[in-house]
Amino acid sequence: MPIIVNLDVMLAKRKMKSKNLAEQIGITTANLSILKSGKAKAIRFTTLEAICKSLDCQPSDLLEYQE
């Protein structure tokens, strides 16, 4: 899929662990792992909003389009 999820980059920048982020946004670590690995088919606006709020970033920091 040409949409790349840069969640691990943002987590590294914010020095935050996946487990903490999962707890903050209210999803399981397994689902966060699916999102990080790019296996996810879709992302809900509510989840994206929660991630952006927790990591203090914009959606464009998390998602990238590559051909």
Binding site: L35, K41, I43, R44
Partner: protein, 173 residues
């Protein structure tokens, strides 16, 4: 849902018993054919080899049906605990649907062959009339099963679609 599945399970059990009894009856008929073929000295009354073959074909068909019904029963039992939308359920419903169609067509063919082999004289009616009546009877007898088979195939497609949607939903974070 589980109540419906329980009822379906009971009905499948009854169906299996019915097919099993039919199988026993057909084995009895086959035995009678073989017995008359071996011991009956009268050539006219003794069963022909083709009648024995028809009987054996019907027995094979009933065993095939029993095997598929057994598989179907397993699926119904298994899906009580897990979600109905999975790939194995799709395959099971599809294979049972196809098996019912094959059974219907084969049973109809055997019925026609059976009629052609038996030389029962039904009064003044012509052979063409008797043949047509037998075809009509054969079609009407197999029609309900054919409808069930098509419903099973439609359900299989619905399960397949549901499985795709479930997979997509599971991968939506």
């Amino acid at each position: 849902m589980s109540k419906l599945q329980s009822i379906l399970n009971v009905l499948i059990y009854v169906w299996i018993i019915g097919v099993f009894l039919k199988l026993l009856k057909e084995v009895g008929i086959l035995y009678k054919h073989i017995h008359s073929r071996i011991f009956d000295s009268n050539i006219i009354s003794s069963s022909s080899f083709s009648m024995i073959l028809v009987s054996m074909a019907f027995i094979c068909l009933l065993i095939y049906m029993l095997w598929h019904l057994r598989n179907f029963k397993k699926v119904v039992k298994k899906s009580k605990n897990t979600s109905l939308f999975n790939n194995s359920n799709y395959k099971a419903f599809h294979s049972v649907g196809m098996a019912f169609i094959y059974y219907t067509v084969a049973r109809f063919t055997i019925r026609i062959v059976e009629f052609m082999l038996s030389n029962v004289d039904e009064g003044q009616q012509s052979i063409a009339y008797q043949f047509g009546r037998n075809i009509g009877e054969g079609v009407s007898n197999q029609f309900p099963l054919l409808i069930v088979a098509l419903f099973l195939l439609i359900i299989a497609e619905l399960i397949k679609d549901g499985y795709q949607l479930k997979k997509e939903n599971d991968l939506t974070i």
